[in-house]
């Protein structure tokens, strides 16, 4: 957990890194020590939600719907919402930026929660405080929904220069914002050669995204008659999920444009020389979408709520109860969305939305002093595998709880046969999701 001392230290380090003199450092540190509350202490029950993605937004809205008297505060560092789902279609100009972009003011004003556009710089769980540059906010319940962060250290250790070089030159575009704009520019400006996409190992945000992205980049190459290939380097033995559907698209729609390379665990990345060494061979690239391994977002680390493995090493994902989403070490904190670990749930927008509704019910019930038996979330994920005509495939997963084995069991349903009907359903899925969170 971050302490005031850590905060002082981090402010100092930040200021040093920025090349400031000692006086401003002290002044900045002083400011943190004297930090005042942004809001008066909670009068009733206050729920602070950190992270305004699919999960956080849904918790905020549905908490207010469950009980309008709960004071709900949503803190999000971005000024506006950009949807990662459907962003691959946007890469290929199949949808506009307007379709993916939404403002935070509309749902906040409509449902009556407070929206604070700020970065969370510290969490003190013992004092039940969240720190922002504007001051701190006290809470009764805290919901952490910060999404993911990239683990470039897995590739470059502590070589910050290399990490920054890769971030700038080959953005992963799995976190909304500028990275997506950069990737789109790169794809449309690409003229010749091999464009590599790396699939992260282990759990990562939106499992089918890299495979769908390959199709949409290939669509741009095909449309622009670019002499290029999209090469997918995947550490897995085969494409999953929706493997047959993606493979059929690579072989039938984008033959010669998309090449899938399985069992390609990354051994070394040299972004300067543009070489990636893998267990399936070495690959040179003209340009790339380098997606490093994912981990739970920074706030979960800040709050010291990351699970540990048998050897005591961090797993990279949150340590929460699989059914209630409550942090195992703090009954007043809930972890929701892509950060969670130890459950067979994919990290997806739909899943975050589905979990958000459950968490809202759990917190509202707890505040009301009632018992609530949590339900299990569900997931639907469409992937566009052809851009002309637009055709998609889909996976839907519902879950059962095996009481005897204390295990969550997935029940997947998949359509691997691409169709225009499913492409239309893709947009209906997105439209209704956006309406659910924003309208």
């Amino acid at each position: 957990m971050i302490t005031r001392r850590d905060l002082l230290k981090s402010v100092g380090v930040g200021a040093l890194a920025a090349g400031l003199s000692s006086k401003p450092i002290f002044a900045a540190a002083e400011k943190v020590v004297k930090m005042e509350a942004v809001l008066p202490p909670p009068k009733g029950n206050r729920v602070v939600i950190c992270g305004g993605g699919w999960a956080g937004l849904t918790v905020a809205k549905y908490l207010k719907k469950e009980n309008p008297n709960i004071e709900v505060i949503l803190i999000e560092k971005r000024p506006n919402f950009f949807s990662c789902p459907i962003s691959n279609q946007w890469l290929a100009d199949l949808v506009s930026l307007d379709f993916l972009s939404h403002d935070y003011n509309q749902p906040a004003s409509k449902y009556g929660y407070k929206f604070i556009n700020a970065v969370v710089i510290g969490i003190e769980r013992d004092k039940k405080r969240v720190y922002t540059p504007h001051g701190y906010i006290e809470y009764n319940y805290l919901v952490l929904a910060p999404g993911i962060k990239y683990n470039y250290k897995a590739w470059f250790g502590d070589n910050k220069d290399m990490i920054n070089y890769t971030r700038v030159h080959y953005p992963a575009a799995f976190i909304p914002g500028s990275e997506h704009l950069a990737l789109k520019r790169k794809v449309h400006e690409f003229e010749e050669g091999d464009f590599i996409i790396t699939v992260p190992p282990g759990a990562y945000r939106c499992p089918p995204a890299t495979y769908e992205r390959a199709c949409m980049i290939a669509e741009v190459f095909k449309r622009n008659k670019v002499k290029g290939r999209v090469i997918i380097l995947d550490p897995k033995d085969d494409i999953a999920p929706k493997g047959p559907g993606f493979r059929a698209a690579y072989e039938q729609v984008y033959l010669g444009i998309v090449e899938y390379v399985p069992k390609a665990s990354i051994k070394e990345v040299d972004p300067v020389k543009k070489i990636i060494k893998t267990t399936a061979g070495d690959f040179k690239f003209a340009d790339a979408n380098l997606v490093p391994p994912h981990q739970a977002g920074e706030l979960v680390w800040m709050a010291d709520l990351i699970a540990k493995d048998k050897d005591g090493k961090p797993t990279g994902w949150a340590d929460q109860d699989p059914l209630t989403f409550q942090a195992k070490s703090d009954p007043n904190v809930f972890l929701v969305g892509d950060v969670i670990g130890g459950v067979p749930y994919p990290k997806s927008g739909h899943m975050g939305n589905s979990q958000g509704k459950i968490v809202a019910k759990i917190i509202a019930s707890r505040i009301a002093g009632k018992e609530y038996k949590p339900t299990l979330p569900d997931n639907t994920c469409y992937s566009m595998v052809n851009g002309s005509p637009q055709e998609a495939i889909v996976i839907n997963v519902t879950y059962d709880y095996n009481e005897k084995e204390k295990k969550i069991v997935p029940k997947p349903k998949v359509i691997n046969e691409r169709s225009e009907a499913l492409a239309k359903a893709t947009y209906e899925w997105a439209r209704s999701m956006y309406k659910d969170m924003f309208a």
């Binding site: 009907a421 499913l422 999701m433």
Partner: protein, 239 residues
């Protein structure tokens, strides 16, 4: 309500429904935990304006009409078998008695076509929520004789008051209470958790565009024009 009361009520409702709409509605309402909303009694008619007859409804064909508002779509289905009354229990503890089918075979049912999950509904361009007849199962779920919404794969059972079979919806589709009088059919109310508030709220812009204003979209119907789904919707999306 215990089983005996339930069966008794169903019988009484069935008899009452042949007599008088207000008796029917009042009696049904008394059993519904406040879940029955009565609206204008509206005659179901064909596109030429003549009253819809039972023989006009092909078994397992998906028909659409609008009730109680001019913009709220409903499905009319002839399931070709007796559809018995069902007691519906909701997760919040409330419940209601769904009276089953109407018509000579008690095979005709009607439901709101607004998905109870996130309010997907059939427009003139697309319909993502559809009835899948016994001979045309869903590709995804392999189930037939169901109403399925492709937006998020919610499944409802039209033979059981549109109870949720699978997927994210938490409540059944609202059902449209039908009455038969002298071979003609009337819609008289909506039973269950209707989604109208959310529907009007979410689709405000779309409805304004289609009807001119929200007020116009909320006008109550006097008559329900029943048409085949395929005629109303350009593209029926099945999954």
């Amino acid at each position: 309500m215990d089983r005996r009361d339930f069966i008794k009520t169903c019988g009484t409702v069935a008899v009452a429904s042949m007599l008088d709409a207000s008796i029917f509605s009042n009696l049904l309402a008394s059993q519904q935990d406040g879940m029955l909303k009565t609206y204008k009694k509206a005659l179901l008619v064909k596109e030429d304006g003549s009253p819809l007859k039972e023989e006009d409804l092909k078994p397992h064909n998906n028909y659409i009409f609008f009730y109680p508002f001019v913009s709220t779509p409903c499905y009319l289905l002839n399931l070709d078998q007796e559809i018995k009354p069902v007691e519906i229990k909701l997760k919040d503890g409330l419940g209601y008695l769904w009276p089953g089918g109407v018509g000579s075979k008690k095979s005709i049912v009607a439901y709101s076509a607004i998905c109870a999950h996130q309010w997907s509904y059939p427009t003139k361009d697309y319909s993502f929520i559809n009835y899948y007849p016994p001979d045309k199962p869903s590709e995804t779920t392999k189930k037939a004789g169901i109403i399925q919404c492709c937006a998020h794969l919610g499944l409802y059972d039209p033979k059981e008051g549109a109870k949720v079979l699978d997927g994210p919806p938490e409540v059944p589709l609202a059902s449209i209470v039908l009455q038969e009088e002298n071979g003609q059919f009337y819609a008289v109310g909506v039973l269950g958790k209707d989604q109208f508030d959310q529907f009007f709220d979410n689709y405000k812009a779309d409805l304004r565009q289609q009807y001119g204003s929200t007020a116009k979209a909320k006008e109550l119907v006097e008559k329900c024009i029943v048409m085949e789904m395929d005629k109303y919707v350009k593209s029926v999306i099945r999954c």
